[in-house]
Structure formats: C-alpha cells, structure tokens
C-alpha cells in the first residue's frame, strides 16, 4: 500500500475485495443496459433546416430573411466581435465586455457575404440578374433602402401560387430580381454551397455562414414548434421523446429568470453566474459552511449505515459486563 494509504487506514479493519471482478460486473451491467436502451428507443435525428426546404415550403419566409439581410437588418450585421468590428452590441457586465478583448476573428458582412457575393457569381451566367445587380449597386443607399422597405412591406401581402411568389404592385426597383435569384439558388439546393465556399475549395470545412443565414425567424419558428426556444429551456431539450442535455439544467434555468431572461446582456450574465457556480463546486473543500454542510445534512449516515451500526454494536458489547 502507498505511504498515504497506510497512514490513512491505520487501525481500520479490512475485508477481502476483488477490483477486477467488481469492475467487470458493473461494466457488463452497463453494456447490457446501453444495448437495451439503444434497441428499444434508438436515438433522435431530426433533420436539418436547409435553404432548399425553406425555399420550397416557406418561400415568403425565405424572401423575408434574404431581404432583411440585404437591408442590413440582420442580427449579425451589427453583432460585434467576433463577427463585426462595431462593439455597441457586445454584451457587458459592470461595463466589462469580454467579447471585445480578442477582436474580429470571423469577419462577416452579411449584406455582402450572404447576398451580394453569391448574386455576383450567379450574374456571370444570368444577364437579367447582372443588370439588376448593376442598377442596385449604382443606386444611392437611401434608394436601396426605399426599394427594400417597399419590397418587405409588399411581402406581407404576397401570395404563393404554383411556386411563384406574387407581389402586390409597388416600386421595388431591381430588388425582386435579386430576391428571386436568391430564391432560385435556395430551390436548387445551392444556397449553402455558395455561402460556405472559401479560398481552399473544394475543402469546405466551416459552415458558419450557412448556419447563420436562417438563425433568426426561420430557426426560431422551428425551435418553438419543437419546444427548444431559450425560454423553453432551450438547448437542454432534445427533439422527440428523448432526454436531452439535462445536466445543463442549472445553465438553462438561468435563462428563465430575470434579469437574464429579459436583459440584452443575458448571455454574459448567465456565463458569469455559471462561472461562479463552477468555482464554488471546484473549491468546495475550502469554502466555509458549504464544506460543513454534509455533516449537518447527515445523509452520510445512510451511506455508512453498516459501519455506524457495527460501531454502536461494538461499543455496546465492550460496555456490557461479562463480555
């Protein structure tokens, strides 16, 4: 035995033990349990939300998302680090915004990267789109916004018939041509490929852009239907009747209560609280009161009940006369 064990166990009676037998018995039990659960319940696999699905099933939502991004209204356009250099939206607690410490590591300009760059490539083999793109880019910013606002307003009363989006009459300039080209990209299943292309083609390994494209209304609507929104305990839930990441409940719980549930800095507030909770757990042996709590709770008596029973018995035996 190690020196430490010899010192710790001095005077303690020992009993025979077989580590390998116990380990193998528990392992066999766990293997059987896992196999049973896998055979009986399988595992969840809810399909991804792809540009193609949104373009075919919800074309107006697709166009709203796309027009919103082109108008510069997407959340990512002014997200702050690590995507954009502006920091007015970087979350802060007590005036400290850790997001700004390391700058922009994943530079994104959704207007350009998500819409105009893909359209510029498609315009190489689509003259109408090329002309519309030229008109749009030659117009002043005010004019672009006027067209886009009118288009987004028009989308509210647009109808879909035989896969064609019918817009009410309006002055949309070249915007419908741009938007319909983006819709065609989606319907063709090419949106994600266009967004995620990079200098190392064909080795596309980073899906940041395509995952961010529908992250607002479209993804939120899907998440709501699956009971996975932040205010529904979000990412600790799993799709279907499966247990999710329930060990994250202390984390997701914090999103259910104010001020975290309502604050613009809610994520950072939750991170700070979870950090403090983690440090408390880590340094538990040294935290006064908390390290004495097990003694007061007394649940240890249940775990070592045989030991205490024998101890009492031995004491009583030794105390009894004639024994």
């Amino acid at each position: 035995m190690s020196k430490q064990s010899e010192a710790n166990l001095q005077g303690i009676p020992m009993k025979p033990y077989d580590l390998i037998r116990e380990g193998l018995t528990v392992l066999a039990f766990i293997i059987i349990l896992v196999i049973l659960l896998a055979v009986l319940f399988s595992s969840p696999d809810y399909p991804t939300v792809r540009g193609e699905d949104v373009a075919r099933l919800q074309p107006i939502a697709y166009l709203q998302t796309t027009a919103n991004i082109l108008a510069g209204n997407s959340e990512i356009q002014t997200y702050g680090p690590p995507y954009t250099s502006d920091s007015q939206n970087a979350q802060a607690v007590l005036g400290i915004a850790p997001a700004t410490w390391f700058g922009v590591s994943t530079p994104l300009n959704p207007k350009e990267d998500f819409i105009l760059q893909p359209l510029t490539k498609v315009a190489l083999f689509n003259e109408d789109l090329g002309a519309a793109l030229q008109t749009y880019q030659a117009a002043k910013a005010d004019q672009q916004q006027t067209w886009l606002k009118a288009y987004m307003d028009g989308l509210d009363s647009a109808t879909v018939e035989n896969d064609i989006v019918n817009m009410p009459d309006g002055n949309y300039g070249p915007v419908p041509t741009l938007m319909n080209s983006m819709l065609d990209l989606g319907r063709a299943g090419l949106l994600e490929g266009m967004l995620d292309e990079n200098a190392q083609l064909p080795y596309t390994l980073d899906f940041t852009r395509s995952l961010l494209y529908f992250q607002e209304d479209v993804d939120h609507n899907v998440a709501q239907s699956l009971n996975m929104l932040g205010e529904q305990w979000g990412i600790s839930n799993e799709t279907g009747p499966y247990p999710g990441g329930w060990w994250l409940w202390p984390y997701t719980f914090l999103y259910q209560i104010p001020p975290m549930s309502t604050s613009d800095n809610g994520d950072l507030q939750v991170v700070v609280i979870v950090l403090v909770m983690s440090l408390v757990l880590l340094f538990m042996p040294f935290i006064p009161l908390l390290n004495r709590l097990p003694r007061w709770l007394g649940l240890y008596r249940l775990i070592w009940r045989d030991w205490y029973h024998h101890e009492q018995h031995d004491t009583a035996s030794h105390a009894a006369p004639g024994t």
Binding site: S2, K3, S5, N8, P13, M14, K15, Y17, D18, E22, V26, I30, L33, V34, I35, A38, V39, F41, S42, S43, P44, D45, Y46, P47, T48, V49, P81, P82, Q91, P98, F102, G103, S105, T106, D206, F207, L211, L212, M228, G234, I235, E238, T239, G245, W247, N265, D267, L281, L282, F283, M284, P285, F286, N291, P294, L299, Y300, I303, W304, H310
Partner: protein, 195 residues
C-alpha cells in the same frame, strides 16, 4: 539524478500494485453508492468504444445507415448513463465530504472532469449534423462569444468541433480520469465522518 530511480521510488511510495489492483478494502466501503464512479467509468469505456467505430465512418454515417444509427444510439444512451453516474457520484461524494484528510485533489480533478465532460457533450451535440446541432450551434455561440471565447472556439465550424470531440477532449478527459484514479487509489477511501 536518475529519473528512472526517482520514478520507481515515487511509485513505491504512491502507487503499489496493491493500490492499483486492490485485493482488500476498508470494511466501511460497503454501499451501492461506491458503484457510481465505476458506472461512470464503464459508460466512458462504452463511449470511447462506440466513438471509435463512429469516427471510422464519419459524422454523417448514422443518418444513412441502420448500423450507424445503432452505434449512434449506443453512444447516445452511454452519454445519458455517464452523466447520471457522474451526478450521483458527485452528490454522494459531497454528502460524504470526501475531500477530507487531504483528498481535495481528487475532488478538484473530479470537478474538472465533470466540466470537461459537459463541454465534450456540447461538442457531441454540435457534430450530430442534424437540427439539434444546427440549433444548438446558433444558440450556444451567443454565450461563447459574449464570454470572449468566440475567437478560440466557433461552434459553427464543424471541423474545429469535430476534432475537439473526437481527439482532443476524449484524450483530455481520459488523462484527467487517470489522474483522478491515481489520487483515489493513493489516498484510499475516505473514512466515515466521526459521530
């Protein structure tokens, strides 16, 4: 200084064969609560085994193969059992105040294993390449970015998440588990609280 002799001396003092493979235990080690740790180890063993099989075929395998789906299910339920066992292990060790008599290192390494396991679980959700990973990626990024960690860890970058989940984190968790077991066996099971 002879490093080999130093190592031999260290092992003689800290981890004899009887510590590593004990044939006797203190009599107070007599409760099912002592099985939660080995249950967690067994689930970890299953995770590594099924993880190796899945890594041979890639993260998209289980979407298109029944065998892949079965291995994914084994992996999924092993995760559930791992966390159940870890939480029960943590709670019972807390109730036993198991950090007493200099065992704080076992406690602290154990807590770090829990945190590392939770992060490994997150990366596991992110490489499922299904709706879950899609949604969790865009949701988790806000907390990660707000904490200033977005420059080092991008949950939307599948290659980064995949290598972390398949290589870096399993190695880190396994190394921490070995250290945890070393401290546990070196220091022996904690004595019952004095009444």
């Amino acid at each position: 200084m002879n490093l080999t002799r130093k190592t031999q001396d260290f092992l003689k003092d800290s981890l004899t064969l009887e510590d590593a493979l004990p044939t006797q235990m203190p009599v107070y080690v007599n409760s099912t609560s002592y099985l939660f740790g080995v249950s967690a180890l067994s689930a970890l063993f299953m995770l590594i085994l099924t993880g190796i099989v899945m890594s041979l075929f890639g993260p998209g395998w289980y979407h298109v193969s029944k065998i892949g789906r079965f291995f994914n299910s084994l992996h999924f339920w092993s995760v559930q059992i791992l966390f159940m066992a870890i939480v029960l292990h943590m709670v019972t060790k807390y109730m036993m105040a198991a950090w007493r008599d200099g065992r704080w290192k076992s406690w602290m390494v154990g807590m770090i294993i829990f945190f590392a396991s939770a992060f490994t679980g997150l990366t596991g959700f992110l490489i499922q390449t299904n709706w879950d990973s899609q949604w969790i990626a865009v949701q988790a990024k806000d907390a990660i970015n707000a904490a200033g960690a977005g420059s080092f860890f991008n949950p939307l970058n599948l290659s980064q998440v995949l290598t972390l989940h398949v290589v870096v984190l399993p190695l880190a968790v396994t190394a921490l588990v070995v250290l945890h077991l070393f401290y546990i066996r070196r220091d022996s099971p904690v004595k019952p609280l004095a009444e």
